[in-house]
Symmetry: C2
Subunit: 459 residues, 2 copies
C-alpha cells in the first residue's frame, strides 16, 4: 500500500478521462457514467472504450485501453470482474495515471473474488498507479465539474464526504441539499484495494475547497495513519465520522458489503475522540453535525441564551441545554428591565426568555441586542413559533448574526413549511434545526470541540 | 376539582358557541378566534359578545354574556384578566355549560395573577360548569369542525393531542400533516384551573375517533388519577408522553410558562412506564412514536428482517436493530437459494439482504414474499435507495403489506424528494422514516408494548 496521498490529483482533477466499458444502452451503468460526465460539464478529452466500437453520446469508441493516447489521467472501469486484472495491466502499460473501479464481486462475495482482489493488490503495490475501489460508486469533484459517479449530484459547496457506501453519498447529497448546503468533493471507497480512508483524509485535509470532512466508515484499513492524520486535520477543519459495524452482527454485514473487517468498537470510539473527531451515533446525527459544524465556529465556553415567543419550546430547550451541561444564566437586572419595557406583562424575561405571542419581529432584534451585551459568551438559540412572519424574521436574524459575537442557532418547529427560509438562513451561516434538542446537541459538540482545541494548544 | 370527565361533551362537541371579547379588528385575537370558527365550518349558532356592539363576520354582537340565550354550550373567553371572574360568574348565571379561557396573566406571572386564579378555582369547584385554561390556546374537534383555537389546523385523522403548550399544537399538526397523518382532537390545557390532564385522558380514552393519544405535559395536576386512567387506556390505544421539566432549570421554566410545579423526574419516569405509557425523550421521538404507533400494531416477538438495495444502509440498520435487542436470523437455506435465483451474484442473501443496485421493483415483491414464509414473526424494514422507481415501489410495498403478516416499516433515505410517496404509504398504513435508526427505534417500542400487554393479561 502506498502511504501517501500522492497521485490523487490526477484522479480527482483529471485533464482527460477514459470510460472503459462505455455503452450506448441507456439502461447500462457504462452509459450512465458517460452521461453524468458529459452533462456534468467535464471539459477535457473524454474517451469511451468498448471493443464493439460504435459511439456513445457523439463520441467514437476506442476499441481497447491499449489504443488510448498515452498519459490519460483517469480511467473509469465499468467492466466485469473477469476483465479487471487485464484492464489494470493495460492501463499501467498505456501510462494511464489512475482509475476508479465500479465493478463489484471481489472480497465481499467470497473466495473467488478474494483471489482476484489479492492479485490486484499485488499488482498495484509495484506501481505509482492509483486505484479507487473496486465495488464503489465513483467520486465527484463538484467545483471542477468532474461527475465521475452514479450517485445523486448535490449542489456545489464546501462540505466533502468520504464514504464506504455509494448509497450514503446520495443520501448525504440529498439531505444537505434540502438544507441549503452543497458539496465540494464526494468519494465512495468500496473495497479500498489501493486508495484508503487515510489517503483520502490526507488529501481532503489539504484541499482548500473543503471546509468540513464527513466520513462514513465501515472499517479502518490504515487505522493508525488515519488517526495521526486526523489529529492534524482536526485543528484546521472539523471531521465527522459515522462508523458502522458497531455490533457483531453489524460487523458481519459490513463484511458482505465491502469485505472489510471492522475493529473493536469501544477502542475505536476512544481513539476517534482523542484526535478531535466528532463521532455520530446515527445517520441523523451525522447529517446534523456535518451541517452545523460547517456553519458555526467552535465555542470556548458553556453558556446558552434561549429566546422564544412560546413557552413550551423554551422549556424543552432548557431541559436539553442543562442535560448537555450548559449553564443558563438570567440576563442582568438592567437588561431584564429593558426587556420588560417592550414585552407584554405576561412574558418571561428570565432565561429562557419567552416573549409570548408576537407578530412584531423587532422584538427579536431588540432582545438579541440586549443579550449580546451579557458578559458571558455563549450560544443563542432562537425558537420562533409559526405565527412569526418568517421572511422578516429571517432577515432580522441574519442581520443580528452579523452584529453580535455570540453564534446564533435557530430551531424552527414547522420546518416543512419553510424550506426557502431555511436555505436563506443557512446560506447566511445561521444554522436551522427542526427541534431545539437537535440544535442544542450540535452546540454541545461545538463546545467540546472548543475544549479539545484548547487542550491541543496546551500540549 | 371535579374528578370526572363529565361535562366535557358540551365543551368539545358544542351545539352553540359564544365568543366573549369578539372583535372586528383582524389583528386581534378576538377576531382570529371568530374567523377560525366560521371558516372552520362550525354549523351551530355563534354569538360574538362585545359591549361596544357592532358586527363580526356578519354576525351582530351581543352586548354582554347576560344577554345570551339560556343554555349556550361553550363560551370562548378572549378578555383581559381583570374581567375574567365576572365573565365566569355571568356565564354560570346564564346557564352557559363550559368555557375556554385564552387569557394569560395568572399563576405564571406571580402574586396578583395567582390570587385571581385561586378565586377562579374556588368559584368553579361549586358548579358543574367546566373551564379549559386559562392561559391556553384553545382546542380543535377536527372531525366535527369545531376550530376553537388560534393554532394551525391539521388535516382530519385519528391522532389526538393533549398539550400544555399551544405552540406544540401547531408543531405537532405541522409535523404529522407533512407525514400524511391527521388529527381528531387537539387540546391545549394552559393553567388547568378546572379541566386537568386526567380529565382529558379519560375523555379521549373513551373517544372512538381517537386511536392514539399524544400528551405534551409540563406537570401532572392529578398524577395518581392520570396514571390509573392511563393503565386502562393503554390496553386499548397507545399513549405517548413528552414530559418537560426534567431538569431543575426546566422545572423553573415550566413555572413561568403555566405556573405549574413539576414532580421528581425519575419517579415520574418509572410510573409512566408501569402503566404502559411511551415516554419520549425528545420532540423528534415524540413525533416519531405518535406517527409509527398509530400506524402499526404492537409486536409480540423480537425478530427483524432487513431488506435493501444498497450495502451501507443495511449495515446501519443491523447495528441499530442489535442495539435495541432484536435478533436477526438468516433466511432458511431454501429461501436463500430462491433469492440467489433472481438476485445478482454479488448481492447478499443473508439477513440483512442487500439486493444491490436494482431498478427492478419486482425483486422487492419476491424477496418480501419469501421472507413472509420464515417461521419467526417479526418486523421487516425496507431501505430503498434513490435509484428505486418510487411510485412503483410504493405500490409494491402497499400490496405486500396487505398480504403478509409481518408489519412493514420503510426507511427512505432521501425523504425530502418523496413527500407524496411518503403520504401515499402512510395513508395505506405503511410507516416511512427518514433513517433506519428512527424506524427501528419505533419498532423496539412496539416490541416493548407487546411485552407490556402480555404482562397485563397475566396479572
Amino acid at each position: 500500500m502506498k502511504s501517501s496521498s500522492h497521485g490523487l490529483d490526477s484522479l480527482f482533477c483529471p485533464q482527460s478521462i477514459a470510460v472503459v466499458g462505455a455503452s450506448a444502452d441507456p439502461e447500462k451503468m457504462g452509459f450512465r457514467v458517460m452521461r453524468n460526465l458529459v452533462e456534468g460539464g467535464f471539459r477535457g478529452p473524454l474517451y469511451p472504450v468498448n471493443p464493439k466500437g460504435g459511439e456513445v453520446l457523439g463520441r467514437v469508441c476506442v476499441p481497447s485501453v491499449r489504443r488510448l493516447p498515452k498519459g490519460v489521467d483517469l480511467a473509469i472501469l465499468v467492466i466485469p470482474r473477469s476483465g479487471m486484472l487485464s484492464a489494470l495491466r493495460e492501463c499501467i502499460d498505456a501510462d494511464v495515471r489512475s482509475a476508479v473501479a465500479l465493478t463489484s464481486g471481489f472480497r465481499e462475495v467470497g473466495e473467488e473474488g478474494d483471489r482476484v482482489q489479492e492479485e490486484m493488490e499485488a499488482l498495484l503495490k509495484r506501481t505509482p498507479f492509483r486505484l479507487l475501489g473496486p465495488n464503489c460508486a465513483g467520486f465527484l469533484n463538484n467545483l471542477q465539474d468532474v461527475y465521475a459517479s452514479i450517485e445523486i449530484r448535490p449542489p456545489k459547496g464546501n462540505l466533502s464526504l468520504i464514504s464506504q457506501s455509494g448509497s450514503l453519498m446520495s443520501a448525504f447529497a440529498s439531505n444537505m441539499g434540502a438544507r441549503g448546503l452543497g458539496v465540494a468533493k464526494s468519494v465512495s471507497m468500496g473495497n479500498k484495494v489501493d486508495v484508503t480512508e487515510a489517503d483520502l483524509l490526507e488529501y481532503l485535509g489539504e484541499d482548500e475547497e473543503t471546509h468540513l470532512i464527513a466520513c462514513y466508515l465501515e472499517d479502518l484499513r490504515e487505522g493508525k495513519r488515519f488517526l495521526s492524520i486526523a489529529r492534524e486535520v482536526s485543528k484546521k477543519k472539523p471531521i465527522v465520522v459515522l462508523k458502522a459495524g458497531r455490533t457483531p452482527e453489524g460487523k458481519k454485514a459490513t463484511f458482505s458489503h465491502t469485505g472489510a473487517l471492522a475493529g473493536e468498537d469501544r477502542v475505536i470510539d476512544g481513539a476517534l475522540r482523542q484526535v478531535g473527531i466528532f463521532r455520530a451515533e446515527t445517520l441523523d446525527e451525522f447529517y446534523d453535525l456535518s451541517y452545523g459544524l460547517s456553519l458555526s465556529k467552535p465555542l470556548f465556553g458553556n453558556h446558552i441564551g434561549i429566546l422564544s415567543d412560546a413557552g413550551g419550546p423554551g422549556v424543552i430547550a432548557t431541559d436539553a441545554a442543562v442535560g448537555y451541561g450548559f449553564r443558563i444564566l438570567p440576563p442582568s437586572q438592567e437588561n431584564q428591565e429593558e426587556l420588560r419595557r417592550f414585552l407584554p406583562p405576561f412574558s418571561s424575561v428570565a432565561n429562557p426568555i419567552d416573549m409570548t405571542f408576537t407578530r412584531d419581529v423587532s422584538w427579536y432584534a431588540r432582545a438579541l441586542g440586549l443579550l449580546s451585551k451579557e458578559p458571558w459568551h455563549g450560544f443563542l438559540v432562537i425558537i420562533p413559533s409559526h405565527f412569526t412572519v418568517r421572511n422578516e424574521l429571517a432577515e432580522t436574524l441574519i442581520d443580528a448574526s452579523r452584529h453580535i459575537a455570540q453564534p446564533l442557532f435557530v430551531s424552527w418547529l414547522s420546518p416543512w413549511e419553510i424550506p426557502e427560509t431555511m436555505r436563506q438562513l443557512t446560506q447566511n451561516k445561521v444554522p436551522v434545526y427542526t427541534t431545539p434538542e437537535r440544535a442544542i446537541h450540535v452546540m454541545a459538540k461545538l463546545a467540546s470541540y472548543g475544549r479539545w482545541l484548547s487542550n491541543q494548544e496546551r500540549l
